[in-house]
Point group: C2
Chain length 182, copies 2
DNA sequence: GTGCACATGTAATGTGTTACATGATTAT
DNA sequence: ATAATCATGTAACACATTACATGTGCAC
């Protein structure tokens, strides 16, 4: 169905908030906590071109600006694509392999989907997260106890810890959301 | 200097623990918590070939086994490459962009470097982590308070939380290590 | 008048993903 | 016999990274 890169959706999400130039978007990746995206022109400009040919965004040359500068705006097709991405059901694979993308999706929910969709997102997130943490704790039991001081075991424990922290966050946010809605 | 992919070092690390076939390594990525590596043959076999031509690993065909099966062993050059990767100074970029790789490095410290190197690793990790968490908290202050209920802000908070959880882990492990060594 | 920030691109390279492909051995 | 597991690969494709490349306007 769809399968564009996280970068493209990150750009779409930012453009939905307000039109930006390629340069603006690059700066956003440096100055905001969306740090894990590269600010290299070699990734951002081609991504914008791809989305342009796909009619997800449209470019307008700004005359009023002193320098040449193109502002990109999300089209209705682009919005539909973004919303479809945001509303995808959350799978175990998302939790295991693409946690960062899930958080990116959550960050862009506001202004693009209904509050009820955000609740569904959080419920699914909590469900998959709970299951995965349980799975990790099961796996933990299989460790030989004389390995407990090894860096391998400690690294694994760190994984469990950080997934657990994530789970605590989801529960907290979901509770907040439920209270506001009801 | 060096710049191989995380996948190659993951394979090296596993092979250092004991020789494996390509198939074994694939299974390791499915059955252990090293889940974020793909178990696709299209990534693992070419990576093994690359390392073989680079003389980081050597392959031996096992006769005793019923089926054809190649076991890979790390050469001394491969070990040197792994150790060099493990002992690299930790940078801010590592913490921001490659946290998973840092944990992978930590997991493979045992059996490959001195205990003192592990301590240096933890010290540098804690230093960079502390600085980054402080940076994030500074950034948090710049948020308009009427945005505090937005998913964007909550996603950011989640980032701060999980980095903080990581920091707590590092401090704890470092304390343990220091006590054992002294 | 020189350097920096603005602003946009291209080309080479490597590599991960997906899908395709083959064949042997073991268990049912 | 036939399905599942073992075992190894290749080919097409898309994409990110890095480095290279160009040019404008402003500040000092």
């Amino acid at each position: 169905m769809n399968s564009s890169s996280a970068l493209e959706y990150a750009l779409l999400g930012l453009l939905r908030q307000k039109p930006h130039s390629g340069y603006d978007l690059r700066k956003a990746f440096v100055t905001t906590p969306m740090r894990h995206f590269s600010d290299s022109p070699g990734s951002i400009y081609p991504a914008l071109r791809r989305m342009q040919t796909r009619r997800w965004v449209s470019a307008m040359v700004e005359k009023d600006h002193a320098r040449k500068r193109q502002e990109f705006t999300v089209t209705s097709a682009g919005t539909r694509a973004l919303v479809a991405w945001l509303r995808q059901p959350i799978t175990r694979e998302d939790v295991v392999w693409r946690l960062d993308q899930l958080m990116l999706r959550f960050a862009f929910l506001d202004g693009n989907v209904e509050r009820s969709d955000a609740l569904v997102f959080l419920e699914e997130f909590e469900r998959e997260m709970t299951a995965y943490v349980r799975e990790l704790r099961e796996y933990e039991k299989t460790f030989d106890s004389n390995l407990h001081a090894t860096t391998g075991y400690l690294a694994f424990k760190n994984g469990v810890d950080s997934y657990h922290a994530q789970l605590v966050w989801v529960r907290h946010v979901r509770k907040e959301f439920t209270e506001v809605v009801s």
